[in-house]
Structure formats: structure tokens, C-alpha cells
Amino acid sequence: MTTPLDTILASVFADITRETVLDTRLLTVDGAALYEVLKRLKTYPDLDFSLLLDITAVDYLTYPKRAAARFVVVYTLRNWKKNYLVQVRVPVADPDTGLPSVADLWGSALWAEREVFDQYGITFTGHPDLRRILNHHQFKGHPLRKDYDIHAGQVCTEPDSLEPEIRARLKVNGVDDSTMSDINTEIMFLNIGPSHPATHGAIRIFAALDGETIMANVNEIGYLHRGFEKTAEHRTYNQIVPLTDRLNYCSALMNNIAYVKAIESWLGLAITERAVFMRVILSEFFRIQDHLVCLAANLVDMGGLTNYWYLYNEKEASYDLISRLTGARLTSSFTRIGGMAHDFYEGWQDDLARQLVDIEKGVNDSLKLVARNRIVHDRTQNVCVLSPETALSYGFTGPNLRASGVGFDLRKDSPHYFYESFDFNVPVGTTGDVYDRMMVRFEEIFESMRIIRQAVKMIPEGELFAADHRYVLPEKSKVYNSIEGAANHFKLIFEGVRVPEGAWYDSFEAANGELGFYFVSDGSGTPYKLKVRPPCFYAMGGFHEMVEGEMIADAIINLGSINIIGGELDR
């Protein structure tokens, strides 16, 4: 089927190879043409790919089929208004010469290119600050290259100074040593983190201050880099589900769902209606959990400890339901390819309904304390404003982007799991300040409740697993009583679900924004490559744009308001 996008692409890129993979249009270009192609994708009004979602690379060294080049870099772009998704693949002839940087087109390329450089050793010429990002500065080699041994750990003896980086940033902002010399004062450098209560995890914020005002800011991440992607290359597809729990661990089950959905899309495996409804209910329930923790922590940073109890206690109470259902409080590992680990327990509707009422009460109690509170308003309104253009450029998605007035939500714009049939609103902000980011999350809690309540009424009875035993384990009675069943079970467990060869991207509206997975499969039961498109990596990448010119205390609440979760940030 030819869509409007195909027509436009055909006219703009007549001589470029185009393919369609799921709902992605794939363009393959060579290094020389890359910059021009990406520039057109961004700037042509009909194309308008304002979001550069992710950049990653693939190392084809051990791939069973010979590839054109050892390294291929993949750019994932989105036009959020029209739900267009494009990937640009470019073979890299020589990683040392690399590719031209596109950091002048999208801010998100700044960190994305650094990550590709760090993990694969591919250079981006023209990048203003190309250095490692996830691994430490003393690290040698590039861990995601196929010839890097997964166990080859390297000791780091001292943290990076970050001094050249902050000086460079000061220069960009037009500040030099003569600033403030008229009042006999020097610039003060302040380091916050990586172990600091306000960083909510391990992030390092480094700021150059004039009094309390931030003149320049650089941030260092990677302290919680746990090698998700390399580890995933050594696990079968279903074994990766527990690893996904630990990405955004405040809403573990949503990651589980996003991950298996991505595989099911590629397999063309339709899951049962009951499983779909279960996923919707649980996704929304975990979205609420995620927002509760974010708001609770954010308000504590502002000094509102009472809110913490109102909000966090409801999260704690929700664990009763979650652990009754999944057996775990935090790390649920509740999905399987083709279905869910098991069905709801008896009486879940009552527990859920009661829990929603309690959450509603907790949230309303907290809102009573903040919604008309002058101190909260003064501290949050018009503070750390993020314009929609900057937000899009840096690849913000989810509530952070919506707070800046961009009404992009995959549940509405790229409907899946019957989201189009639920009655709910997508709250958007007007200013893009800390206040909007908080209030968007408060509102989303109520919208998620609406979805859950509708879904609970509509959920059908029936099977939980798709009946396709190429991907789904057979029933236990067959495993124990028939040789075919036993063999089927054995193969699925030992070899993993065999996923047809290919490369694809699929994404999901997680609590923090667009959570994407990019897979390369060689046809075996283990992914050849798996890249996560983590929403908070990109939010953190734009942090300096939000805080420069603001006060240092505002940077703290701003960090809380964009909800950075280390597991997802550093993977």
C-alpha cells in the first residue's frame, strides 16, 4: 500500500533505496549523502522529522551473512504530527573517519553520537564534544563491538574532572574569566553528585555559578551503566524480560510489555484479547505508580515531605496487589512472548478498584497541598522553561514533551492495544515549566485511572496465550504426556524463541515517554543486537538547556520534574 509518506519519499529521494519494515520506512544511504538526506528529512516541510529518536550502530562482524560493511549506523526519526517513522541506515567504511555529525540539526544527536562512539568506536566529524558517555574515561576499547569480551571489566581509579567540558560550555555561553572581575569575584564551580540525595540515583551535575545563578552546566552519566545491551546479546528473547524490569524500575511491568510487544510485532504474532486488556490495565496502573514516585520525590526536593507520605504510601499499598499478581514487588518479569506469565487472580477487580480509590484520595490530598500553594507556584511556575522546539530537538518525549505543549502520545498517535477505543485525554502544558511537568503527571494519573476503569469493564474471559507453539510454551499436560510437547518445550527453553532474520524498531508509550527497542536478529533464539531507546537519556541530554540562567536550587527540582531513572538512563 502506498501512503502519502511513500509518495513524498519517492519524490524527494528518488535515487535512494527504500524499504518498508513494519511501520518504518527504511532508507539506505552512503556516508557521503548522509548529512544531506537527514537535513532534508528534518527541514522539508512535507517531511518535518522534528524528532531524532535514536542513533545506534550494528557490528556485523559475526553475523552469519556477509554484510556490505562491518559497521552500519542507524538513525531513527519521527514526524510526530503525522505518525511517520523513518530509519536511515548508513554503512561505515572506516570507523576512524566515521560519519558527519548531525548535532547541528538535532540536539539529541549530541549524546546519541557520543554513545555510538563510546560503544562502537565510530567517529562523528564535527561533533563539538565527542568523548565517552556511558563507560568511564579510563576505559579502553569499545564494548559493543563483537570482538570485545563481555567479561572484560576495566577498573576505573578516579572520576573524570569535567573541567575542560565546563570551560568549553562557558565559552559557548559567552562567559570568560573577565566576567565578574569588576566586582572582584570569580566563577564558582559546584559539583553535585554522583552520590547526592537530590540526584535520585547516580548522576553528576556540574555547574559554573555566578552567585546562585547557573552560567553553564554539564552533566555526566553512565554511573549505572550495567551493560544491558551486551548482556542481552547473550540471552534468549524470553530471558531478557527480567533485564527489562531493571530499566525503568519504577514501572517495571511497562518495560516488560513494551519489550515483548516489539518482538510480537515482528513475529506477526497476535496476542489474545484478554492478554491485550491485561496489558492495558497493567500499563496504566504502572504509569500511575511511576508518576506517584516521580511526584513524591519531586515534592520532597521542594520541602513538601507530607506529599511524599500521601503519594508514596499509595505506591507501597499497591505492592500488595502487584505482589499478589506477579509474586514480586518491584521486578515483576510478568510478560512472555505471546502472552502474560499468568492470569489475574480471583478477586483482582475488587482489589484494583479499592486501590484506585485509595490512590485517588492520596493524589487529591497531595493536590490540596500543592495546587493552590503560593510557595509551590513561586518555586515552579516559569522555572526551567523548556520550549517545544528545544524539547523536540533534544528528543524529549512523554509527559516532559507534553508539558511543553506538544501533544504527542503514542497511545493516540500510533494506536495499538485498542487504545483508540478508550475515552481518555492527553493533558498538555502551556509553558513547559516545572509546574507544567508536575501537573501533566498529576493529570495523567487521573486519565490512566479512567482507562483502567473502562478496561476492567470490557476485559473478556478466555485464553491468555496465543496458540502458536513456535513461540509459546505448550500446556504442561502436553509437555508431560507427549513427546512432541516435551520436545517443543525443550527447544523453546534451550534455544529460545527463534525470531526470523531482520532488523526492526518498535516503540511504546511508557511512563517516561517513547520507549523503543531496535532489534537485529540473525534468525536464532538470541538477539544479535538489541538497543533500547530510553526516554530519559534524551531528557537528561537537554538538561543544561533548561537550567542555564536559572538558580541552582531550581536545577534540583527540575531534575526531579523530568523523572530521570538511572536504570533506563544508563542501561
Binding site: 540515583g201 549505572l224 508514596y312
Partner: protein, 172 residues
């Protein structure tokens, strides 16, 4: 019933050993410094919140300055990038100090047996109590706290602990 000298002093004086007195005080006023890096820290938050209420054990005064703390709770994965920071924080804590390693990651690297994860924080700093689990339940945190209290109680205040510890970041 008081005997000997104590009998003559009445209720106004209590004789005890220095160890017992100091350790009694220390045991019920441990000030934790939470080195929370990952998922386990969320379960620590639960241990501190109303339902499990760590203050029942006198350890609710969570300090974020290592200089004011005597119990280091390492909650989460420690990467090689993080390791020098962990070591420095440990060194900034005054003696006597105790260390709890919370979760599979801190104890052994957990499910991350790979190039970036330290395979157990006891290769960096000495550990007094390990909590298993991924993540451990809040009750397990309280259990570890009681274990540390027991260690505090039975130790001598004159003994310097972990004098001969050598980790991978200590210069040989």
C-alpha cells in the same frame, strides 16, 4: 539484685562495662548513609516509609553526608565507573563504621556478569552484612539492620575493625 559495692550505692548509680554502655548507645542510633544507585534503593525507600518504618530500630536519621553517618547501606549495582566514588564515601565516614551490601548486585554483581559491573563491592570496601535478593524485601533490610546491631553489641570499642582490608582500588 545488686551485690557488693553496688548494693551500698543504691539506685542512683549503675555500674557497667564501657563496651556495653557505648555499644548500647550505638546500636540503637545507627545513622545510615544510603548509597542508592539502582532498583534496590526503591526498596530502601519502602523500608523507610510508614509501613515498614525503619525508625522502630532507631535508624531513621538518614544522612546524606558520609561524615555524619556510621552505617553505609549500598543499595544497587556498582559499576567500575562508580567504584572510586563508593570508596571515597566509605573513607569519608568516621570510625567506627559498618557496611551493608543490599541486593544481588552489590553482593556479587547480580545478573550483570559483564564488562561494566563490579562483581561484588567487597572487592572495593569491607562488608559486614549481605542481603540477598533482587531486590530484597524491606523486611530483609530491617533484618540486616538487626544483624548489624548484634555485631555492634558484641564488639569491643577498643578494636579497630577491617584494618588489613585490601581492595582492588587500594594501592598495593
Amino acid at each position: 539484685m545488686a551485690l557488693g559495692l553496688e548494693a551500698g550505692l543504691g539506685d542512683s548509680v549503675l555500674t557497667t562495662k564501657l563496651d556495653t554502655l557505648i555499644n548500647w548507645g550505638r546500636q540503637y542510633s545507627l545513622w545510615p548513609m544510603v548509597f542508592g544507585t539502582a532498583c534496590c534503593a526503591i526498596e530502601f525507600m519502602s523500608a523507610a516509609a510508614s509501613q515498614h518504618d525503619i525508625s522502630r530500630f532507631g535508624a531513621e536519621v538518614v544522612r546524606f553526608s558520609p561524615r555524619q553517618a556510621d552505617l553505609l547501606l549500598v543499595c544497587g549495582t556498582i559499576s567500575y565507573k562508580q567504584a572510586p566514588i563508593l570508596k571515597r564515601i566509605y573513607e569519608q565516614m568516621p570510625q567506627p563504621k559498618w557496611v551493608v551490601s543490599m541486593g544481588a548486585c552489590a553482593g556479587s554483581g547480580g545478573m550483570y556478569d559483564n564488562y561494566c559491573t563490579v562483581q561484588g563491592i567487597d572487592s572495593i570496601i569491607p562488608v559486614d552484612c549481605y542481603i540477598s535478593g533482587c531486590p530484597p524485601r524491606p523486611e530483609a533490610v530491617l533484618d540486616a539492620l538487626m544483624n548489624i546491631q548484634e555485631q555492634v553489641r558484641s564488639d569491643s570499642v577498643l578494636r579497630e575493625r577491617h584494618q588489613d582490608f585490601k581492595g582492588i582500588l587500594d594501592t598495593p
